[in-house]
């Protein structure tokens, strides 16, 4: 397909490497450009509406134009657009959210650690579990068992938990040099090597209802 010179589609194909996309097919077919949203609908750049039956990536729970969230973001941007939480620093939105989550938890929970994505959250869970077992003097207790077809993210550690072959860098990096992560730490290497193996027999496709 040829794109109108300098059109958004042409520039997308020229400059944008898309996640979870067949890059060669993308060069041929170009992007689907979404321009705006309203309730459960999104609209493409030709104004065509789509009922978004996936809420984006299983996520946009309140649809695509919740004004209260725009206001909450705007108010906070005006008040304190950024601050961190290292070294004893805190801010009210963080404190309130941590308290709220602990109150909502399905079982008694103690503390909340914040990240920016699902992958980072699962990476953090791995690290905290290692930290926890090191602290208890159980230095060998580091392996995670995950399930075939489970999805836990794409960062190196969380991808090791993810049970779909396409997410394992080793399955896509053909060169032996690049298929072996070089940044492995002792604990990580023992765990990673096992994790791939371990995820297998734990999971038989669940008997279909």
């Amino acid at each position: 397909m040829s794109f109108q010179p300098n059109s958004p589609a042409a520039r997308d194909v020229a400059y944008f490497l898309h996640p979870y996309t067949n890059a060669k097919a993308h060069e041929q077919n170009g992007p689907m450009i979404i321009e705006r949203g309203e309730g459960v609908y999104v609209y493409d750049d030709a104004g065509k509406p789509y009922l978004e039956a996936m809420a984006g990536l299983w996520c946009a729970s309140l649809g695509f134009n919740e004004k209260r969230l725009v206001k909450a973001a705007t108010d906070q941007l005006n008040k304190l657009p950024y601050y961190h939480t290292f070294a004893h620093k805190a801010h009210l939105p963080g404190i309130d959210l941590a308290e709220k989550l602990i109150k909502l938890a399905p079982v008694p929970m103690s503390k909340v650690f914040f990240c920016s994505s699902g992958s980072e959250a699962n990476d953090t869970a791995i690290k905290l579990v290692w930290y926890y077992n090191n602290a208890r003097g159980r230095h060998a207790k580091k392996k995670f068992i995950s399930r075939i077809k489970g999805y836990h993210g794409v960062t190196i550690a969380s991808a090791s938990l993810t049970g779909t072959p396409v997410n394992h860098p080793a399955s896509t990096c053909r060169s032996p040099a690049s298929s072996t992560p070089r940044t492995r730490t002792t604990t990580a290497s023992a765990w990673k090597a096992r994790a791939r193996r371990s995820s297998r027999p734990a999971w038989r496709p669940i008997s279909r209802p």
């Binding site: 039956a53 909502l104 995670f144």
Partner: protein
């Protein structure tokens, strides 16, 4: 299944196995709903060998499965819970890891011994993302979104499972407002299409032409609409899906004949 897990833990050595991680309902793997007693049996084994249970609530959290947490739907009692996505309705990126007191205490002590917990992101609890997440949780409560999900999900499930009557559909799965259908070449034997036929991708494309965005996972088509969806919008969703399946069937037949 629990016996398999126990065998694996023993094979690896219980002193080396730290945690088990699972989504309450597998999402991106194709919307796979566990049998009723699955997690009870799994967790009995984990307890026996001092293995932590990590619930990945990134998709299931905040009402998706008809309970506030997927863990409640499937009977998980997590030591650690991760969540994201609907935490902020996805308007801004933020995720959270919740840990139990038993997990926290040794970590806190180690951070004191070492002088610091050596982990954290520049954007951990970013104030604007946190403010949007807080407002999201407020909206869930004020509008009783969980009540809404419970009110409309029987209709969603009814329309979802009714797709089994379509000649292309071999199986339907789902609970609450998460569902999937599986496209098969032969309904009786559930024989799949040759992956080269790209049946799932064909239906995905046909759906888009009808103004419906779904997700194809191989030959599974998944649905997780915004939780605010109404009954009439659920009808629109599945009416469009039926048209897309008809188009897909015609295209697959044409390809087979050629």
């Amino acid at each position: 299944m629990a016996a398999d897990l126990e065998a694996m833990i023993l094979e690896e050595g219980p002193e080396t196995v730290a945690a088990f991680i699972a989504e309450p309902i597998q999402g991106a793997g194709g919307v796979i709903v566990p049998p009723k007693t699955y997690f009870a049996k799994i967790q009995a084994v984990l307890k026996k060998y001092d293995v932590l249970m990590v619930a990945d609530e990134v998709i299931c959290g905040f009402g998706r499965t008809g309970n506030f947490w997927g863990s409640e739907t499937v009977g998980i009692k997590p030591d650690i819970l991760t969540c994201a996505k609907a935490l902020s309705a996805s308007y801004l990126p933020i995720s959270a890891v919740m840990i139990s007191e038993d997990v926290y205490q040794p970590i806190a002590q180690a951070s004191a011994d070492l002088g610091v917990l050596g982990h954290g992101y520049t954007y951990s609890a970013h104030p604007v993302c946190a403010a949007v997440a807080l407002e999201t949780l407020k909206i869930y409560e004020e509008r009783d979104l969980l009540g809404h999900v419970r009110a409309v999900s029987p209709h969603f499930e009814k329309r979802l499972h009714a797709l089994i009557d379509h000649p292309l559909i071999g199986e339907t799965r789902g609970v609450g407002l998460i569902g999937a259908v599986e496209i098969v070449a032969d309904k009786a034997t559930k024989k799949p299409f040759d992956p080269k036929a790209g049946a799932g991708a064909l239906v995905y494309k046909a759906a888009a032409e009808h103004g419906l965005i779904v997700r194809s996972i191989g030959d599974n088509i998944a649905f997780t609409p915004p939780l605010i969806i109404t009954e009439s919008q659920i009808d629109e969703l599945f009416d469009k899906m039926s048209l897309a399946l008809d188009d897909g069937l015609a295209a697959l037949k044409k390809a087979q004949a050629a």
